[in-house]
Symmetry: C2
């Protein structure tokens, strides 16, 4: 049984806020019986995973910046442009950002922030997750996992889903390779991206527009692992990435190479 | 509060099985108290969504076929090749299949099936979902949603997640465009792909290798909608698809065009 519930009462977060304290207080407030002495109702249970919207992590860490030019902010976060497209409302840029995540607008967010500002992703979401985990584990005395989430578009599919961009204490890919299917054969390609699935499940209760940035995901204690790697393992970059460039961008590169090659041949043949 | 639980006791499914009856019986068996007269424990509650692995739908519908050549089965399901790559174990082909879904191997499955056979996706997963919904709604007297799920890889991200490839009675994209964020501005791009998020949440309890092909997703009654469109709305094809071809494939097309264009120019200049 998996249960997922949002934590009410987390207000607007601003730079310098102690996010672990605020989340912890909201958890206690949502379970008033725990404040009665001698009553052992668990606010958090052993094995709980907290899914925390990256937006509040960024705000607490002072990642909201003045940006007269949102496009410049996106450029600054970009390591590599994958694809871009001009449309009536401006330019959509799909890029790899400094965290290795391929995302529209590099993950720079201009919604739910005051005019003239943008919100950058946390500097190191895995480290943010680790700090939250340590503080909340200490306070509540249980082993936890933390997933930092962001909303991502997808190639070939409409709409967005939440995905894991940071994590601590929880396996984000549950590697089943080497296990067997019901026919006794090795399941050699199955590696569920459980970090992204946890983020998606949490999004179903958090709902961006409702101001519920944290959800408790209960019932996946088997995924907890103190030594689990961070969210970079969810990024596919390099030789196995078959979509390093958008179709138009790759075509243009090929076209230029074709023209150059033909010119070279022509040069050779007339020499 | 969202709760998700797998239904135990659904055995191996074969062609001609009445899937709604089997799922219904498994639900009742998992809640024995409901079989006592006068006891009104709800096996399914109003607003429940059942996430059903496409594999068992395919098996019930006789979509397991003899296939000496799995590659030919993939070709037969393919409408359009997006990208392919040769590697030591064979060829990975990412294609758009006849359902409009971009997937590796066109969604053709050779795991968990007997040697020499492959399992094709249901002919019309939305129709399969509608039939299941009608039958289970009639039996249990509650309004339900059905999501048919399959496991998909993603561009730029490692591992797989479950996604919705069929649906009935439930919104698969929860279009928030036109609603307002906490600053009172219109949230104009947010359209959570809740169908895929439901599939992902269900996968966390179903786990492919455990033989649990159906999960109940409870607490999302607000997404139920008798007139909701099917899963094709989750496919992004056509002009808005910036990844119609893999990088290598697009580059090759461009290269050929560049060579041809240069040859044409050369031809013109020497004429």
């Amino acid at each position: 049984m998996l249960t997922v519930f949002a934590i009410p009462g987390i207000g607007e977060i601003t730079e310098g806020d102690d996010l672990a304290a605020i989340i912890g207080d909201a958890l206690v407030a949502a379970h008033p019986s725990t404040s009665r002495p001698g009553v052992a109702v668990a606010v958090l249970e052993e094995g709980d995973i907290l899914a925390v919207t990256s937006k509040i992590v960024s705000k607490a860490e002072g990642r909201m910046i003045r940006a007269a030019d949102r496009e410049q902010a996106i450029t600054d976060e970009t390591v590599r442009v994958v694809a871009s497209r001009v449309h009536p409302g401006g330019v959509t840029r799909i890029v790899e950002n400094r965290l290795g995540i391929v995302a529209a607008a590099a993950g720079v967010d201009a919604s739910n922030t005051p005019e003239g500002t943008v919100l950058l992703l946390p500097v190191d979401p895995d480290a943010s997750a680790a700090r939250l985990r340590q503080a909340l584990q200490s306070r509540f005395g249980v082993k936890l996992g933390i997933v930092i989430t962001d909303t991502l578009g997808r190639a070939w599919r409409e709409g967005q889903t939440d995905a894991a961009i940071g994590g601590s204490g929880v396996r984000l890919i549950d590697d089943l390779r080497g296990t067997h299917d019901t026919q006794g054969r090795v399941l050699d390609v199955t590696a569920p991206a459980v970090g992204d699935e946890i983020a998606a499940a949490a999004d179903l209760v958090k709902r961006k527009s409702d101001g519920l940035p944290v959800a408790v995901v209960r019932g996946l204690g088997h995924l907890l692992d103190t030594d689990a790697p961070g969210a970079r393992i969810l990024n596919r970059n390099g030789p196995t990435d078959m979509f390093r460039l958008g179709t138009a961008e790759a075509w243009q590169e090929g076209y230029a190479a074709g023209v150059a090659a033909a010119a070279g041949e022509n040069h050779t043949s007339t020499r």
